[in-house]
């Protein structure tokens, strides 16, 4: 597998990034605070009032370093990419399949299977670690049942319905996995636009980080992140990135959220409720989350299909590669990443 490169997360308000030769230099109030060689970076994510010089953006485009701009609270705003490159035949095949209902359903099935299997594994691990809770046991059973029906579902809409069914079974057991600070981080319902409680704020933030990595990974292998299968096409929506992300949500984002809460690394004081009821994280909490996320990405595990040791941070890339290989006809199916 290729080398895991860093993502530079810039959260300091008023920071300015510029290019100096082959180096990215960050300054705050005209003082340089950071220098990183461009070849050590896979992406740059800017939160809030962070500016990048045009030459730096050009360099990033040229080197395939993805630059995303998010609001201070982690809402996605825009991204900058270089010229379209890569394999036009692959993209044509991607478009062809997205227009074919049978092929779309087949691909959507792979993504849903990956997501469901991994959700189930996360619940089951919690069950193993903490003893069976009624909620966990019931949800594990419900998801198994949905997996069964996913295997024979005849169209993509049915798959979307099944995925929703499993998601609500999964989230109904989510509370049982929260072992600490239950008063603050109870999950009542998933809310994301905007998140209305601390847990939703935390999850949404992690999902945004994951989406950035999935989008970059897809572009890196020459796929168009907008043309998806499970997620319907909608202008401006990175459907394929959302498809790819599904199998990672439970095992990357959700588990990071759970460990932050259960190890008391975040707490209720780090969240503020705005006038509209939306809940946002304070800068220190965001920093903690980003650090934990970065650390998580450096953990390694054995990739079950590739039979290779892979850093978690490279999973989106590895899976994007397998997806491209499937679309190009090398593999007879897309094998989602399955945590065991």
């Amino acid at each position: 597998m290729k080398k895991l490169l860093n993502t530079l997360y810039v959260t300091t308000q008023g920071a300015y990034l510029r290019q100096e030769g082959e180096t990215v230099v960050a300054s705050v109030e005209r003082t340089d605070v950071l220098r990183l060689p461009i070849h050590t970076l896979a992406g740059i994510v800017c939160f809030g009032q962070v500016a990048c010089s045009p030459p730096l953006l050009g360099l990033c485009g040229e080197r395939g370093v993805h630059v995303s701009f998010l609001s201070e609270w982690g809402k996605f705003l825009a991204r900058v990419t270089g010229p379209v490159s890569g394999n036009v035949l692959l993209r044509r095949e991607q478009i062809r399949r997205s227009g074919d209902p049978v092929a779309t359903c087949e691909l959507a099935r792979y993504f849903v299977l990956g997501k469901l299997a991994n959700s189930r594994t996360v619940l089951q691990r919690a069950q193993r670690d903490h003893g069976p809770g009624t909620d966990l046991t019931r949800s594990v059973g419900m998801i198994s049942d949905v997996v069964r029906r996913v295997q024979s579902a005849a169209d993509t809409d049915t798959l979307r319905g099944l995925e929703g069914e499993a998601a609500s079974a999964y989230f109904s057991a989510f509370d049982s996995m929260i072992r600490s600070q239950k008063d603050v981080f109870a999950l009542t319902t998933r809310s994301r636009r905007p998140p209305l409680d601390p847990l939703n704020a935390l999850l949404s933030f992690l999902y945004t980080l994951l989406a950035h990595d999935c989008e970059s990974a897809l572009e890196g292998v020459g796929l168009d992140p907008q043309i998806g299968f499970l997620h319907a096409l909608r202008p401006g929506r990175p459907s394929l990135a959302l498809d790819l992300m599904e199998e990672f949500r439970p095992i990357l984002a959700d588990r990071v959220a759970l460990s932050l809460i259960n190890l008391n690394q975040v707490n209720g004081k780090g969240f503020e409720t705005t006038e509209t009821g939306a809940v946002v994280m304070d800068p220190d909490t965001r920093k903690t989350v980003l650090q934990t996320w970065q650390k998580k990405k450096q953990e390694t595990l054995q990739h079950p299909f590739l039979n290779e040791k892979v850093e978690l941070g490279l999973l989106p890339h590895a899976q994007a590669l397998l997806l491209a290989r499937h679309l190009r006809g090398d593999l007879d199916a897309y094998p989602p990443f399955l945590l065991k």
Partner: protein, 244 residues
Amino acid sequence: MYTEDQLLPLSAVSQYVHCPRRCALIHLEQVWSDNVFTAEGCVLHDKAHSGASESRGDLKILRSLRLRSLRLGITGVADVVELHRIAPSEGGVCIPGIGGTWLPFPVEYKRGAAKDIRCYEVQLCAQALCIEEMLSARIPEGALFLGEKQHRTPVAFDAVLRAETEAVCQAVQNLFAAGVTPPADHNKRCSSCSLMEACLPQSAGYGKSARKWLFRQIEEICPRDDPTVVGGDNPAAVRDRNLS
């Protein structure tokens, strides 16, 4: 006869001999890792690509000569072509802009270990065939300079090598026309191949089924006789669907 539009790069020809999948990955899929061109060893000859010509009496050295063959459908650059002055009766041909008659003698410099000589020989022969077509010449021989010590190995463009080269050119044309990457034939070459990571030779090779793998895994994760499975649709659950 091919049209100019159909000409394919000469480099693809030697890559094809090395590994057809590698040729497809580079030229059809346009995936490459950063070190591909350096690893290729074909491109980086400092002096050979300087473009300057030299002349020493009966020997002229042309560098970076643009070549093409409409018959084979290839185009590219020859690093070095030596011209040996010989009489027309011995096969010497006129070269535009140079007086006298000459025998062209293509030369390729390959640094690094000379592992896969055949692909270099085919490449050199393809160059010779281009020159023959462009100058109406007959070129019996060329040379490879291999390895660190630039050891000289003569290459005779005999009937066998010519036939093989023509067959490879045809195969490359077919590959480009079909636009389908051949499966990986996982072999010794892979370990030194700079495209390993994009190629995934073990998992994208002959015979491995991702579909079978996936459904076996799913069966393991959620066994069919799982006692925890509760049957039936749950309309309330569908209604609650609110995952981002």
